[in-house]
Subunit: 374 residues, 2 copies
């Protein structure tokens, strides 16, 4: 018995985008799905009730951060991550790979794993495929990720190839070390930088290991958007139709829509929460910087087309005041709205798939939002 099941409901005749549903031990979520990021067992600024209010069906949390603080054993003792953070819907955890490579100091990669110094207290740690599985098994998340090597961008073909091969060997070790496959679905991760041949190689090798879902990693790390789309176009055809496909770390409206068009089912990104905390607001007419003086006496909502709690109840002038005064409610409202904006966008994407017009929807959306605005 597998932990999750992917149900393909419909394919968009105009684009090939997939409408689906993923069933997990903590309920189902509709795809294409955007997953808000709760790095440290909380989506920054939001309560679980508020996440439900905006219809978040699944969230992501970060293995590296939870391992460091408060520790996976404490969370296991608390009854698992769902109970610890009071979130009873699906959770996906990453493997810690990305953070080990991007946040830690003095990392050293060997076949065994990665040695690094903690970003919190400088303590030394060795992350291995087996440890990534142990931690995620302790957390009890519904979807867990293989420990992979995240190469920098740009990266030589030669190194990228050796890294792909290592990521495959690590994926094998993850599969072997995963102790709870009936309750937690382990996804394989396709790497390969911006090299088509390596993406295809990686996809074939990872798919051969037969995972209940597949992620595409190592994109949105600085490469041009066209390179990302090219990588999706060469990779997705090698992924099975009956498993969900997850594009990691992607959350701007253009990447979400273009990703869905290329057959991606799941996305995550800190973008809406991070820019929200800084007062940048995604609206149906593009981004606005709420601190700007021009909003000082703007008594309309952040986004006139949005029906979120923030837009229903507070003006741009008030939210600007909150940001200028350093008040917590300001970043709460901007975060709330941004997340709702992306979750609503995914609903519109799903609707456009049902109506076989996702390419038309993309063009309409960006004619107002502005295509180059992330």
């Amino acid at each position: 018995m597998q932990a999750i099941r992917y149900e393909l409901i419909k394919t968009c005749k105009q684009t090939g985008a997939r409408l689906g549903r993923v069933h997990t031990p903590h309920g189902s979520f509709d795809t294409p799905a955007f997953m808000p990021v709760g790095t440290q067992a909380t989506v920054k600024g939001m309560s679980p009730d508020e996440l439900k209010e905006i219809d978040a069906q699944i969230i992501l949390s970060n293995t590296y951060h939870l391992y460091m603080r408060p520790g996976n054993e404490l969370i296991k003792e608390a009854g698992g991550l769902h109970r610890f953070m009071n979130w009873d819907r699906p959770i996906l955890t990453d493997s810690g790979g990305f953070q080990v490579f991007s946040l830690s100091d003095l990392r050293n990669i060997t076949e065994e794993g990665v040695t690094f110094k903690s970003h919190i207290d400088g303590s030394r740690h060795l992350f291995t495929p087996e440890l990534a599985m142990k931690i995620q098994n302790d957390l009890g998340s519904d979807i867990i990720m293989c420990f992979d090597e995240c190469i920098p961008y740009p990266c030589e073909h030669d190194y990228a190839k050796r890294s792909v091969e290592r990521t495959t060997r690590w994926a094998e070790r993850c599969k072997k070390a995963h102790m709870n496959p009936e309750k937690q679905a382990l996804f394989g991760i396709v790497q390969g930088g911006v090299y088509e041949d390596l993406r295809v190689l990686s996809a074939k090798e990872i798919v051969a290991l037969d995972f209940p879902g597949y992620a595409i990693g190592g994109l949105s790390v600085g490469e041009p958007a066209q390179d990302m789309y090219r990588m999706l176009e060469c990779t997705v055809p090698h992924l099975p139709e009956d498993k969900p496909r997850y594009l990691m770390g992607v959350g701007s409206p253009d990447y979400l829509i273009e990703g869905a068009i290329r057959g991606i089912d799941m996305f995550d990104c800190v973008l809406p929460t991070r820019i929200g905390r800084n007062g940048t607001v995604m609206t149906s007419r593009g981004r606005i910087i709420i601190r700007d003086a021009k909003y000082a006496r703007d008594f309309g909502p952040m986004d006139p087309e949005c029906d979120c709690y923030a837009c229903r109840n507070f003006s741009r002038a008030y939210i600007r005041h909150l940001f200028k005064a350093g008040e917590i409610l300001g970043l709460r409202l901007a975060t709330w709205h941004n997340l709702k904006f992306l979750l609503d966008l995914m609903k519109k994407v799903r609707k456009a798939i049902i109506d076989d017009r996702l390419a038309d929807f993309r063009d309409e959306f960006f004619s107002v939002y502005g295509y180059n605005v992330k």
Copy 2:
């Protein structure tokens, strides 16, 4: 037609504490009442909906801060403070006096008013009784306060006496300058430091001006608790029975209960929100510091006797983690709980008045909470 009406419902036979209700243009509130403080047009960390969820019936906001940022004229343009901050229940604003004396630099007091430099941008301002009225009229709060002089503690009798006399003259000017008495009730403020004769003198002079409510100011500024209680005991008998009495800047459980016992109807304080943001939690068994290591694996609620959102849904271990990780949800939950704790305490005080046993309730409460714990 007066803006507000005080309804005295019952007096506690054991203590003389008053159960009442104040009717305002934005609805009624039960007394004795604790008013959460929304300094900058927001109760730090809380949304208006959350304040309603914990049954806050009236909040306070600070004239000095709103005058500085975003400005009273902008708030007037927004339709008043209620609409600006989306709070449709009663609001009391202070006069700015306390902040002018405590926050600003280089203040200079003359009969005209107080000249000072802004704590934000160093700009020079002259606060007068007339300006305090103009600002509060623009804000549109239901209860507004006279501009008074807040003397330091300790303070010589001679200076305190001259200050009391000036505060009376300023109160007369406030009454004259107040443009909206049918919609906004102007409270007089009794000063006089810790001198009984001056408190009595001030009470008589201020009451002679006939305000719809009276505040006792200049207490809880460093004097021993017994001095505060003595001042209440000598002042309250000089205040009329048919008007509400407000003890300014007071919010620890002992002051609230002892104040109610001495005939006070209204209180406000930043204490619950300020200490909440620092991770100090008021519980039925006294204060706890949620960051303490001993709570790392404590999977029970902050206060087992509390039914607030935080206590119903999250453990001490989780909230400690949020504070250690610097997550916003941590201070939100601690703030939420602390406010609910004080609002619930006032409900219990009102119940004890109904049952003619407020002194017994005080003894029972502090036998568990610890009397000297603020």
